[in-house]
């Protein structure tokens, strides 16, 4: 039996704890292989020593706090992202309705509808008139559109934070 055979055996069987019979004689003659076998045996022996470690209470508490903070930041960012998209779509919808109403006024349809609105509410009618006035100029339209977006955005954020279960998980 040669050293190369023993090397091959150790290479193929890194966890061997019992030396095969065919190598016993070789180990008696070869100091090099015998010491290698000794290391192999001792390593397997060390594996049986079971020790456990744990972080200090302060380190543990710090990690838990960091995990909570990270989760809060990630959730907040996903909340803002979601609200932004929803608000954008809702704002476009609302602005579309307003634009339609403004166009209706060109054909005096707005005025035709107004008496019916007045019948239901005397307060809503002047408000609708004000909206129409704001959107009649270009600067007013831009400011109005921005105002609509921010109102919808604030409202969406408010609704989403009211019900945390509806929040999107952050992954």
């Amino acid at each position: 039996m040669k050293c190369e055979d023993f090397d091959k055996f150790l290479f193929e069987n890194p966890k061997a704890k019992i030396c095969p019979q065919e190598f016993v004689e070789h180990l008696k003659e070869c100091e090099n292989c015998a010491s290698l076998w000794k290391i192999q045996e001792t390593l397997a022996d060390i594996g049986e020593d079971k020790i456990t470690f744990s972080l200090s209470p302060a380190q543990r508490a710090n990690l838990i706090l960091r995990a909570k903070k990270e989760f809060f930041l990630k959730t907040a960012s996903s909340l803002i992202e979601d609200s932004f998209v929803v608000s954008l779509l809702l704002s476009l919808f609302i602005l579309g309705i307003i634009a339609s109403a403004t166009n209706l006024s060109k054909f005096q349809l707005f005025e035709k509808v107004m008496p019916y609105i007045k019948l239901f509410s005397s307060q809503v009618a002047p408000f609708l008139k004000d909206i129409q006035a704001v959107f009649s100029s270009q600067a007013g339209s831009i400011l109005g559109a921005m105002a609509v977006f921010f109102i919808v955005f604030a409202f969406t954020l408010f609704v989403k934070t009211l019900n945390p279960k509806r929040l999107r998980p952050y992954f």
């Binding site: 290479f11 193929e12 890194p14 390593l43 022996d45 020790i51 998980p169 992954f171």
Partner: protein, 173 residues
Amino acid sequence: MEDKELLKDYLNGNEKAFEMILDKHQSNVIKLIYRLSGGNKELAMDLSQETFLRFIKAARDLKGESSIGTWLYRVAYNIFIDYVRKNEGEKVELDENTVKISSKSEKTLEQGEIKEKIKESLSKIPKEQALAIYLFYFEEAPLKKIAKVLNSSEGKVKTLLFRGRENLRKLVL
């Protein structure tokens, strides 16, 4: 509870899930660094904390990982290597050619002494070999898992184990 479920719970906002992950893996992470550093407990604790901080930051990218333990081992090892490079440079990184042969003969060392010498010498052999030996013998991890931690093949792990044993022999006996 399985790692995948714990991770899912954690990402869904269950605060207790992180604590469970921490309790499940902290000992293994600390032990790995403790052994690789030749028994420096303080360093092991600090670098383990750093490892879990990385986990907190990267948790959302771990959905594809089958085992958090494997990922933590890999990160802990990389953090330890970075630490060694920054703080000790080449001083502790011995390669096969620079490993000094111990003057003590096998006969003069008791089994207990050999054990202690092996534990100490683990920090003096190349780090990849030390990691493979630690995971294989001390943690009884299968070759497949070690290959995943090291991002290499099972054959490479076998070679690392073989060379690691040879280097330990030169240092210890």
